[in-house]
Amino acid sequence: MANTPDYSWPPMDQRKVIGQPYKRVDGPAKASGRAKYSSDYLSRDLLFGAYQTCPHAHARVLSVDTSEAESTKGVMAVHVAAPAGTEIQWAGAEIAAVAATSTEIAWDAVRKIKVQYEVLPHLVNETDLSKAGARAKAAGERLTGDPDKAFQEAEVTSEGHYGIPVINHVCLETHGSVTQWKGQGDDSQLQCWVSTQDVTHYAGSLAPNLKVPAANIHVRQDHVGGGFGSKFSPDAWGEVAARLSQKAGGRPVKLFLDRATDQKIAGNRPSAYGWIKIGGKRDGTITAWESRTWGTGGFTGGGSPPLPYIITGIPNQRMNHTAVSTNIGPSRAWRAPNNQQASYMTCGAVEDFAAKAGLDPLEVFKINARYTPEARRDTYLFHFDKAAELAGWKKLWHPRGESGPGPMKRGLGIGFNAWAGLGHQSQCRVTLHADGSVNVDIGTQDLGTGTRTIILQVAAETLGLPIGAIKLAIGSNDLPPDSASGGSTTVGGVSSSTRKASMNALAKLYELAAQTLGTTADQLEAAEGRIRVKGTPAKSITWQAACRRIPASGVISEIGETNPRNPMGLMAGGVAGVQMADVSVDIETGVVKVNRYVAVQDCGLIINPRLAESVCYGAISQGISTALYEQRFMDGQTGRMLNPNMEFYKLAGIGDIGDIVVHLDIRPENDKRGVVGLGEPPAVAICAAIGNAVANAIGVRVPNIPMTPEHVLAALEGRTV
């Protein structure tokens, strides 16, 4: 192993490119519309796909008659996805698809497909557990310590109800692909322009069902219009697009879900509702926790929030969770799965306990930091104070409900987050050419988080070159394999593999340059576009001169690989974070506005502070939307989602967000951990902080997210909704 380079990151004070706030390299292309998403794909021979979906929440398909659709002019292929006999478990489920020469023809043809159903009983709302009957499945009690005794001995107890509904991902680019299938069997060639969080494994997931070698499936994606955890696999529609293309003689088929269908079936975050009781001492120390919760993640139930969140060490706990099976589209991972729900419920219960004890919740959170995992305990304590300082807590906080006269009430609230974020398996290939040009290739994807920019910064730092000197390729499965972008794992994965591949390539280049410079390879470094002798920068040659030594017949091409089991100090997992919301509530209308939102975010080595902050802004904007607006209205009578659109499925706009203040906790002791992913942690605590701020402002708990006028006014009037 003598020749293994030392991959460790350059010390904080010696970094030239890493740590700089570069703007996203693809920003101008995106802002100007030059960036092409797969859903923008157009070609002369393109066919347009559309689905007929099931209008019933639970039904059996009795017959599907596609004859009229098939004979419609312009229809090139029809595929039945749910033949007679299929049991449908949610409205919006795909029944049959057509591919036609225009979108309009496709939609007209879809309506000519005649489907008969036997309609079966459904359940689409789970807020009232007593109505769930046999569809509710208790997970069994989890017991720690002696909660009965602890509650008896408690000096203060509080209890409350907390609920957070099923929400949608609402990716601006809906789910789907453009897929072209030419040839047959082993001679098949598939070209897929996709919208995915996992370019590398798309082909492998698609191949078995189509019975085509994965090696013959070519996957491309330059940009993706949102995923948030809902775009990990090709999905049924990826396969159907391929089948339609094959039936249509190999013409490419564009099959992206329409907005309504996307919202019904392509992404649901599980709900969580429940009752929580907390017991503790007069000083705010919690000694006992009891919770009875339920929720749904669709037909399979699912979605158990990890309670108590972060303060896991509470010595006495009794917990019961019930999963409810409902006839709604299946759940998908949503930016830190189950953590938002757990954070909202836990922080709400802690805030209610503080109010009952007559204490400042900031002090109660701090005193109970003893129950947080030891590795981040000091960080939480530090963050509570830092967030309080930035939010003006000392000045602005007041005891619950003491908000002064007039209809506008201001309040402050706290939420906290935790996440792992260790980098994923990744391979990078760095190729140096004799003319000095450089390729960096990784089969990863940029979800809008700035992955391209990050990779370029790492390569540029390591090779001692400007960012513009490097040609980067991502978004294809012809490139070295990367992993799914999920779990905040991308930045750690791609930064390590890029670092290693760049160092490995440099090691080869040093061997060539060492001869010219009359030294040994281990004495060389790459900086400022030169290869130079460490400690004697005057002894150097230009990057181009070094590369000219690469034999004309070849290139230097080296792989670097990230292995999560051996991070080599380049990356780590585990972050904390504390957030505080400052809201105003109009108690005559129940309208809540966020004045300011403070996020103190734990982190590791930050490759690009602008992008890290930007990820926090995005997460918080999305969280504010969830906390105040987002609701799926499921009609119990018809079993349908009534608002599968972006009009009554309300989303925050720029004017609804308020001021966001992000403080990244960049400190030497955090930096030395290496890179830690940040995609998810800042998205966790927004409902928690806003829910608590509203309670602080108006003097009562609004149990259920979102904080709509309907919910707020009901809480003020002591009604339940």
């Binding site: 309009e104 939609w107 007209d108 309506r111 005559e588 209308t589 129940g590 309208v591 105040l628 607006y629 209205f633 499921m634 009609d635 119990g636 009578q637 018809t638 349908r640 009534l642 608002n643 972006m646 009009e647 009554f648 309300k650 989303l651 925050a652 706009g653 720029i654 004017g655 609804d656 709509t708 006028p709 309907e710 006014l713 009901a714 009604r719 909704v721």
Partner: protein
């Protein structure tokens, strides 16, 4: 979207000649901000679309001593910015300015605003104006969070037009033109709460075009207040437009009309009565707000809108007299 014939007339006369008297055959296209989505959802499937945007005579705002004439093609943005409208017809300017998103204000026309279809999600989901499934009304036992709190059915949708209540409060009329001639209708009577599935929510006949809005000389004090949850692309949860004629500092006559709470702009006669002879103060405005919702009939999930309507009336009244002696 079903294929259709596209007609592009340049005069009102040509345009009305292209319209069919039976429902469902032809549709008038103005800004298209509503109609196109109705067509994409197959709620409207016209065989012919008559684009009226090239008809000069439907343009323009004209103010005179006798009042205001607003052409049907005037956009919400033009209306909201018009100096005359802002100065003397504040309730109308407020309502137009409240309509969200610059895109909709720039594309959406005043004619289209008055003629737009209800946003009731059962209607948009294909269950008809009265929202029934095999004869069973879906709204009373359904998700009626945004539905009517006045009227008592069988129509439970809320009139979508934000301009409607302001125009009713101001006593405006609309001119409706067909190949057979023209008629003027008070905006108050333009909107109807249908009792059966074959009646539309406005009296406009399929072969008519709304050519202009005529607003009489203004009441001095007017305002619109909307309770909106968000700033971005959203509908008011409740709104109120008021127009007051004053004798000194006391109310000589009041028009109070609530929006987004009933299938039609809802006139609050009790509030109007409560205000007569009063000065507008926080207390009298609040009392009028309370009176306005006395006979509200909320549904299972929209009781909260009663409070919002009451607050909208109160705040509109206070806004109307703000800064005025």
């Amino acid at each position: 979207m079903q294929a259709f014939e596209y007609a592009n007339p340049s005069t009102l006369q040509e345009a009305v000649a292209l319209l069919a008297p039976q429902r469902g055959q032809t549709d008038v296209l103005a800004g298209g901000t509503d109609l196109i989505s109705l067509m994409k959802d197959y709620i409207h499937t016209p065989k012919r679309l008559v684009n009226i945007k090239n008809i000069q005579e439907l343009e323009g705002i004209r103010a005179s001593a006798g009042g205001l004439r607003i052409g049907a093609l005037v956009t919400m943005d033009e209306l909201a910015r018009n100096a005359e409208v802002r100065a003397s017809y504040k309730a109308l300017a407020d309502a137009a300015a409240g309509i969200p998103s610059p895109q909709i204000r720039h594309m959406g026309t005043v004619g289209g605003d008055l003629c737009q279809r209800p946003r009731c999600w059962y209607f948009r989901g294909g269950f008809g104006l009265l929202a029934t499934d095999n004869g069973k009304p879906l709204v009373p036992d359904g998700e009626n969070h945004y539905h009517a709190i006045f009227g008592g059915g069988p129509a439970y949708f809320v009139s979508a037009s934000s301009l409607g209540p302001a125009l009713v409060a101001m006593g405006a009329r609309v001119k409706l033109v067909s190949a057979k001639g023209s008629r003027e209708v008070a905006v108050k009577s333009f909107f109807v709460a249908p009792k059966d599935e074959n009646t539309r929510e406005i009296v406009l006949r399929p072969d008519e075009i709304l050519s202009e809005i005529l607003v009489p000389a203004p009441a001095v004090h007017s305002a619109t207040y909307e309770v909106r949850q968000k700033e971005a692309l959203d509908w008011p949860l409740a709104a109120a437009s008021v127009a007051l004629t004053m004798k000194g500092s006391v109310v000589a006559g009041a028009k109070v009309v609530m929006g987004h709470v009933a299938p039609i702009p809802w006139e609050a006669a009790a509030a109007e009565k409560a205000l007569a002879g009063k000065t507008i103060t926080a207390a009298s405005a609040e009392a009028a707000g309370k009176a306005a919702v006395e006979d509200a009939q909320p549904l299972s999930r929209n009781a909260y809108k009663v409070q919002l309507a009451s607050v909208a009336v109160k705040r509109a009244l206070l806004e109307a007299v703000k800064g005025k002696a």
